[in-house]
C-alpha cells in the first residue's frame, strides 16, 4: 500500500495522519494485507457469501413509536449544547 493510498484512505476514514508516521503506517498496513491475501489461495467462485452465521432473516415490525424522546438525557453527555442543539464549527460560509 503506497503513501498516496494511505492518505486517501485516511481522508475517507476522517483520520488525520502525521506526515512522519505515513511510512510506518503504510508498512504495517501492507503487512496486514499480505496476511489477508492468503485468502486468495482458495478458489471461491461458486461459493455463496455468508453475512449471518445462522442465516436468519431480518425481523420487521410496524413503524410505530415505542420509546419516548429523551433528548435532554442523551445530551447530558455533551458540553456543546445550546437550546437542545449540538454546536459545531460554522459549516456554510
Amino acid at each position: 500500500m503506497d503513501k498516496d493510498t494511505v492518505i486517501k484512505i485516511a481522508d475517507l476514514a476522517k483520520i488525520e495522519i502525521n506526515d512522519k508516521k505515513i511510512e510506518e503506517i503504510s508498512s504495517s498496513l501492507q503487512k496486514i494485507l499480505n496476511l489477508v491475501n492468503e485468502m486468495n489461495t482458495i478458489n471461491t467462485d461458486d461459493v455463496e457469501p455468508m453475512s449471518h452465521p445462522l442465516n436468519l432473516k431480518q425481523e420487521l415490525r410496524k413503524d410505530e413509536v415505542l420509546e419516548k424522546n429523551e433528548r435532554d438525557l442523551f445530551q447530558r453527555n455533551n458540553k456543546y449544547i445550546e437550546d437542545g442543539y449540538y454546536k459545531v464549527p460554522k459549516i456554510i460560509d
Binding site: 494511505v6 455468508m50 452465521p53 447530558r76 453527555n77 459545531v88
Partner: protein, 485 residues
C-alpha cells in the same frame, strides 16, 4: 471466602450465613488491596454497590429473593451501564455516562446481582493482550510481567485473582477464550445470537457475542442461562428456547464423540502439545471416543477475520464524530477538522489501524476482492465445521498456541498479535459456541483447553467441561503472586 464458587456463595446468601453487604464489602476490600498490582478495573462502583447490597439485604429479609440475589459481578467496560461511566477502554469515551443499560446488564440486575465495577479491556475490544487500553495494561495474576490476554483482560484477571467470583466478557475473535486460557479460568463464548448484543458497544457486529468468565463450568452454566434469550432490541438474537444449562451440564454424563482437528496440532509448541495430549487421554479413559478430523481451511480464518472485523469496525466506529457524544478536539476551524482531530486524538493506534484497513477493504473497487471474498471463506469454514459435526459431538484443541507472553513482546508486531487468536477466530466466523477451561501449565503459566460445539450446543460443551473438571483439579489452582497461599 474468595475461593468460594458462585454456587457456594448463592447458598450462603440464601441460607443467610452471610449478607450481601458483607460479601460485597469483602470483594471491594480485596479489589482495593490487590488491584493496584493488576489494573483489572477501570471503574470501581464502591458506593453504588454497597447501597444496592443493603437494599437487596432488606429485600431478602422480607423474603423477596431472586436466583442470584446479592452476589457481586464485574462488567466488562464495553457493556453500557446506566449512570455508570462506560469507556470501552478508550479516551474517546473517557467521560461517557451511559443513559441506559445493556440487556446483559439488565438481565443480571433482574437476577439480583450487584455490579462491583467495570473491567479494563483493549480499546474497543481490539487487541489480544489488553495493552491497547487507554487506561493502562492489565497484568497477568500468574506473572506480573505477562499479559492476561485480551480483549477482556481485566474481566479474566479479576476472576483469576479472586477479586470477584464472576465477570462478563465479549468475544469477537477470541476475546473471552484467549484471556481465560492465559489466566487459568473458564470463559464461554455462546452461539452467535444466543445473547443479546443490545447496549454492548459494537466492534464487528456479525462476530461479536457476549459471554461469561467464572472458575468452574457449573458457574458458567448458571450465568449463561440468565444472560441468554431473545431480545426485541437485537434483531440478530435468537428465539430459540433457553435451556437450564446448570441442569443440563450436571446430569449424568453421556458418552461423547470428540473430534481433534489435525490442523490444530501442526507445528504446535511441544509443551502445549504434551499438556493437550494428557487431556485427550483423560477423555479417552473416561467414556469418550476420540476421532481425528480435518478442518483444512480453518487456517484461512485469521486472514478472513482480518477483513471482516476491520471492515465492520470501520463502519461501526464512524459514529464517533466528536459531535454528539465522546471526545471532541478543541481549536478546530471547520467541521472536517472537528471530525478528523476528534477521531485522531480520541482513538489509539490499533483502533486507527483497523479503521484504515476496514475503510480500504470497503472502498470502491476493493469490496469484492476483500469483504465479499472473506464472507465466502466464512461459508467454507462454516461448512467444514458442519461436516465435522456430522461425525462428532464436539471439537477440542488448545485455546491459544502458547501460554501468556511478556508485556510489550508483541505490541509492535500486529501480525504476531493477530496470530495468537489462530485457534479461536474460526468459531466466530462460523457463529459457533466454544469454551476455554484450564488444562495445565507451561512455565508456571496456565494453558487452556478449547471445546467447540455445534450451534446452540452450549449444553454439550458445558457438560464435557464439567466432566473434565470432575476428573481434574486444574481449575482449582490459584496464582501465588499475592503471598496468600
Amino acid at each position: 471466602m474468595e475461593d468460594k464458587t458462585l454456587i457456594e456463595l448463592k447458598t450462603k446468601i440464601q441460607n443467610k450465613e452471610i449478607s450481601s453487604y458483607e460479601l460485597t464489602k469483602f470483594f471491594l476490600n480485596r479489589i482495593k488491596k490487590i488491584d493496584p498490582k493488576l489494573n483489572a478495573f477501570i471503574t470501581v462502583t464502591e458506593n453504588d454497590s454497597l447501597k444496592k447490597a443493603k437494599k437487596i439485604d432488606s429485600e431478602i429479609a422480607k423474603g423477596n429473593i431472586n436466583p442470584l440475589s446479592g452476589i457481586p459481578i464485574a462488567q466488562k467496560d464495553i457493556f453500557c451501564t446506566k449512570g455508570i461511566r462506560t469507556t470501552c477502554g478508550s479516551k474517546m469515551l473517557e467521560d461517557f455516562i451511559s443513559p441506559y443499560d445493556a440487556t446483559v446488564v439488565e438481565k443480571l440486575d433482574k437476577a439480583g446481582m450487584i455490579i462491583i465495577g467495570k473491567t479494563n479491556m483493549d480499546e474497543f475490544a481490539m487487541g489480544s493482550s489488553n495493552e491497547t487500553s487507554y487506561f493502562g495494561d492489565v497484568k497477568n495474576p500468574w506473572n506480573l510481567n505477562c499479559v492476561p490476554g485480551g480483549s477482556s483482560g481485566g474481566s479474566a484477571a479479576s476472576v483469576a485473582a479472586r477479586l470477584i467470583p464472576c465477570s462478563t466478557g465479549t468475544d469477537t475473535g477470541g476475546s473471552i477464550r484467549q484471556p481465560a486460557s492465559l489466566t487459568g479460568i473458564c470463559g464461554i463464548k455462546p452461539t452467535y445470537g444466543r445473547v443479546s448484543r443490545y447496549g454492548m458497544i459494537a466492534f464487528a457486529s456479525s462476530l461479536d457475542q457476549a459471554g461469561i468468565f467464572t472458575r468452574t463450568a457449573k458457574d458458567c452454566a448458571i450465568l449463561l442461562s440468565h444472560i441468554s434469550g431473545y431480545d426485541v432490541k437485537d434483531s440478530t438474537s435468537s428465539k430459540k428456547e433457553v435451556p437450564d444449562y446448570y441442569k443440563e451440564c450436571t446430569k449424568k454424563f453421556e458418552k461423547m464423540k470428540i473430534g481433534i482437528p489435525e490442523e490444530f496440532l501442526d507445528g504446535l509448541d511441544s509443551k502445549v502439545a504434551e499438556v493437550f495430549t494428557e487431556s485427550i487421554n483423560i477423555f479417552k479413559s473416561n467414556g469418550c471416543e476420540i476421532k481425528k478430523i480435518s478442518l483444512k481451511n480453518s487456517k484461512l480464518g485469521v486472514s478472513a477475520y482480518q477483513v471482516v472485523a476491520p471492515a465492520e469496525c470501520s463502519s461501526n466506529l464512524s459514529r464517533f464524530d466528536g459531535v454528539r457524544y465522546g471526545f471532541r478536539a478543541n481549536d478546530v476551524k471547520d467541521i472536517d477538522e472537528l471530525y478528523k482531530k476528534s477521531r485522531s486524538q480520541g482513538f489509539g493506534d490499533e483502533v486507527k489501524r483497523r479503521i484504515l484497513i476496514g475503510t480500504y477493504a470497503l472502498s470502491t473497487g476493493y469490496y469484492d476482492a476483500y469483504y465479499l471474498k472473506a464472507q465466502k471463506i466464512r461459508t467454507i469454514i462454516s461448512k467444514e465445521f458442519q461436516n465435522a459435526f456430522k461425525e462428532v459431538d464436539v471439537i477440542i484443541g488448545p485455546t491459544a498456541p502458547d501460554c501468556a507472553f511478556k508485556l510489550g513482546e508483541k505490541l509492535n508486531d500486529p501480525i504476531a498479535m493477530y496470530l495468537s487468536d489462530i485457534f479461536t477466530v474460526s468459531t466466530n466466523l462460523a457463529g459457533l459456541p466454544a469454551i476455554s477451561i484450564p488444562m495445565g501449565f507451561k512455565n508456571k503459566l496456565p494453558l487452556g483447553l478449547q471445546i467447540i460445539g455445534n450451534h446452540f450446543d452450549e449444553s454439550k460443551i458445558l457438560s464435557l467441561s464439567n466432566h473434565y473438571q470432575n476428573l481434574t483439579d486444574w481449575h482449582m489452582q490459584k496464582p501465588d503472586m499475592l503471598g496468600e497461599t
